[in-house]
Symmetry: none
Subunit: 186 residues, 4 copies
Amino acid sequence: MPKIVDREEYRRTLLLKSFEVFAKKGYAALSMRELAKELSVSTGTLYHYFPSKQELFEALVSHYSMLEAEKITPLVAQNLSLAEKVKLIFAFIEEYETAFRHWTAILFDLERAGLKEIIEGSAWRRSNELYSQHLKQILATDDDDIINFVMIYICGLVVHRIERGDEISLVEQEKLLLQFLQARIK
Amino acid sequence: MPKIVDREEYRRTLLLKSFEVFAKKGYAALSMRELAKELSVSTGTLYHYFPSKQELFEALVSHYSMLEAEKITPLVAQNLSLAEKVKLIFAFIEEYETAFRHWTAILFDLERAGLKEIIEGSAWRRSNELYSQHLKQILATDDDDIINFVMIYICGLVVHRIERGDEISLVEQEKLLLQFLQARIK
Amino acid sequence: MPKIVDREEYRRTLLLKSFEVFAKKGYAALSMRELAKELSVSTGTLYHYFPSKQELFEALVSHYSMLEAEKITPLVAQNLSLAEKVKLIFAFIEEYETAFRHWTAILFDLERAGLKEIIEGSAWRRSNELYSQHLKQILATDDDDIINFVMIYICGLVVHRIERGDEISLVEQEKLLLQFLQARIK
Amino acid sequence: MPKIVDREEYRRTLLLKSFEVFAKKGYAALSMRELAKELSVSTGTLYHYFPSKQELFEALVSHYSMLEAEKITPLVAQNLSLAEKVKLIFAFIEEYETAFRHWTAILFDLERAGLKEIIEGSAWRRSNELYSQHLKQILATDDDDIINFVMIYICGLVVHRIERGDEISLVEQEKLLLQFLQARIK
DNA sequence: AATGAATGAGGTTTCATTCAT
DNA sequence: TATGAATGAAACCTCATTCAT
């Protein structure tokens, strides 16, 4: 028997640590050599668990979208008023703002590096669809355009707050989004 | 009379052509050799006019952000219905989507490099305020929160379309934004 | 009774299977991982039985060269016409072509490594002489120059077919060699 | 203007030096780094002149087959008896025996490395065809099978003499080849 | 001013081999 | 004995950049 290792478990461990490193350096600027050093393993080990840099990264996207999805799930079950639901969404945004920024930073890095294939790859898409579906359940609507509007808005909120910080009043923005949704839903 | 070569003029010519190439290939995926070939000059010439790839790219973005600001101005003067104004905003977004992306990419670069001072610095702020003021004039409102909401939304639209492309129906989104504004303005 | 595992026997089993794999993929193009997978064992097991890839390969070639010598023997006893003898020689060449190639590849390895002493050593000579003597018996001649000519020709045929493959018509070549021998032998 | 270099001339210089290095080390065992070091240039320079290791090697094959072809050409023009022609062929073999060995060693290296693509590539084929055509002219025959027979024989002679050295009497072999050809040609 | 040859560090990936289990 | 995880050197190749001309 070889060194005892739960292959899947160790893969997860590597992905967990990798996320922070990718968030710090981006995709294109992070070499496999450097990632290996940060994870304190050899490049060979990295390639033992993941067939290529791209697949490693896609596994990371898959894995994290699941983790974050689990965090948002509890919101779905509860029976709340629209105002309370929007409040919950904003609370969630505030809590995971940093993670959202990392993801978006990586998105731009991929775009600039000409790696559209990854963005269009299934892992990233699935992650996006997951969020969409959660939003649908929370807001109890089937209108895709509304959902897209809210996704777009959340995305913009996170990015724009990099530039403007707390000049953007979350309290007022929450009111505006609520007003918009009240006019449209139900 | 000697042939007068305006150094600045030639730099601009190079940037002009470069923009298209960067837009097509992205930043990391475009090598200086390839760029030089596309511009029909030598790599040496490129380095004669720009000290590095990064500075060339930054000069390009800053050059273009000015051009864009100038282009949006004419819209302000016209007397249009709200529906027509929103249509104009969307037309503008569609036309300059690529430029917006590059601009936002720079934002993330700066954030990642810890150069918040530049984001908070005057040039970046002024650019943002310029857009805000244009929006205020176009929409004929003084409500900062509304303007912020629209800015956030536009920002999100551009970013989200990187991920989702034409899955996001601009026609439907335009309707939704119009509805939101109609309820709030006037 | 404990299960008796004959180490030497298992080595031979591994070599036997390895030969086919090497014949298909060549030496450098075949990694130990791939070989292990083809043999349905682990890389560790391979290294348990052979100290290195090279030694495994050399063991393989030396093992097979013996097998060949044994196989050619039966041909000698038969009483055949010259045409039939030449046909047999060609059939033999065709069947063991791959093995001949490996054998010759080893020869060049040794030459390049400056290990002329091995080529001039007894094992290699004996192997050569064995083939010579077989040829003498098959062709029923004592003329060393003729035998050398045929040995040279066979050697060249195998090597040249690496370059030219089936462009070299074995049927025609067989006719030519037969003609040559008919003119010289009796 | 850049450093003044006749690109084609310098390519030839690099190929010239490369031949010796490839002959010494073989194809698979010679890395581009090592080759660069032997040529006293950087790897970058190597890739500046040749797009890949394989193409460099194929250029080398092309180049050398031409050089050697030029050496053999003078033989063609002369009006000689068959005996004299065969004598010339043997004289040529003797003179270039070392080069032939190098080529054949490289051939085996390629085969073992699984690089059949190179052998089947046009450069190597063309080189072979060149020799064939020269032989045709020298021997004044159009019979491809005869030419192949002689090519095979020459190839075998060179290889077999590695094993047997001067035990193989060139004088006797020359006589035998002459006899064979006299029976077949005219 | 303009060229493109030259550099060499660094990119991703493969591989023979070792060793804890 | 047998396993396969782990290693890290080294493979081919690309690239931003420098510099002689």
